[in-house]
Subunit: 236 residues, 2 copies
């Protein structure tokens, strides 16, 4: 892998290893895809908006670190946590040589614990209205969205963002937010129902219309199947 001289050369200049987590949530009321940000507590850039992150501890892998901070900030275990990219530019952090392994996760926005978010001075921001973030975190958010879009085509990831019971109009709005584009609603229904992913329930959600929209839940068996085998949920 390396020669010894390189190894000892490295020893005096440790590289610090951090993780940052792009935590996505879908606000069903506002029909907006959101990202959790907080005001960074340490220098450099203390007080500026930042993704949630942490150094990787000696006894944990990066995914464990990403999972740990997710729980710290939201009280939730991740339904969906995927490594995005490792950012390694030499000057990305002016204070130390720090590389950051970025993850992205999908959570149910209605379940997170508000007091934890408040305690950390964190807040949810619309994907289209992200403020200036520290270092390369804006890049991380934008890379995460692209990844989420690509994954949504091949796997039914979007369901991780919705409550167990949801309506087709909600799911439709979610896909429009993920893809950042208008979708034909008749074709959407046809395509999504054709996957066999959805079980229609008897009940209706009447909070957004007088007629009410039927509840659906996703079929876990079919869901796991498509997660493995892949599908093609893509709209023009």
């Amino acid at each position: 892998m390396i020669d010894e001289s390189t190894s000892s050369y490295i020893a005096g200049h440790p590289i610090l290893v951090a993780v940052d987590n792009v935590i996505f949530g879908f606000d069903a009321e506002e029909e907006k895809l959101k990202v959790l940000l907080f005001r960074r507590k340490i220098e450099p850039f203390a007080g500026q908006w930042s993704l949630v992150g942490s150094f990787v501890r000696p006894n944990e892998s990066a995914v464990v670190a990403a999972s740990r901070i997710l729980t710290e900030f939201t009280g939730l275990d991740s339904l969906y946590l995927e490594q995005l990219h490792c950012y390694t530019n030499v000057d990305r952090d002016p204070a130390d040589r720090v590389i950051s392994i970025a993850y992205y996760s999908l959570i149910q926005l209605q379940k997170y614990r508000k007091e934890l978010v408040e305690k950390h001075h964190a807040g949810w921001f619309e994907i289209n209205d992200i403020p200036d973030l520290v270092i390369d975190h804006n890049q991380m958010v934008s890379d995460a969205l692209i990844r989420l879009q690509n994954n949504s085509r091949r796997k039914p990831v979007g369901f991780n963002l919705l409550p167990p019971k949801f309506t087709l109009p909600q799911l439709f709005k979610l896909y429009q937010e993920i893809y950042q584009q208008q979708i034909d609603d008749r074709n959407f229904r046809k395509k999504i129902l054709a996957t066999g992913l959805l079980d229609k329930l008897e009940t209706k959600d009447k909070t957004t219309s007088k007629k009410g929209a039927f509840h659906y839940r996703f079929n876990k068996t079919k869901y796991k199947e498509l997660e493995t085998d892949g599908c093609d949920i893509l709209f023009h």
Copy 2:
């Protein structure tokens, strides 16, 4: 990002940062996709087969490190170098806490400098006949192939593996190797020519048949366009 106590906690337990590079080449004579491996020089696992890699130096980013070792081992600059995944299991290296950022690159096998490969006790192995590698390097190779397959569908990456002039039968064999499946050759020609990527030349390659196969080269303008906009080169 973190609190100070975590920072100082980390300081005494540095995590070492390495890169490993899955270098792909296409052997046009044997019609095989190959990966460059070498016998690891340092403990642990000295003498065992390994991907080519190095620690990341204090003044270089990971991509620069990956590029550096590519040049060290092949004498080539990378046409195509992409970050794959960062492997961070705590016990992956029994000696130290080392994480590895894996890259994969595509090179023209006929151009690499043999003496460098020999000097490093390296060799080319068929993608279907990879020996047991150190640590998680078999996983890296298999992840790299999956990534190469996915990228090949959306972008014309395969051309990075071929010389400037190549024949359709060669390109066809290359895609079969990448996808690890049989492809209908008439449909392949139709689809690949329909992209407008290929310029047919006057000359023929007669090394593999009496009739000879026409040379093609790829159209750089169209190539860059499809690299950006994406395409859909996928076969049943």
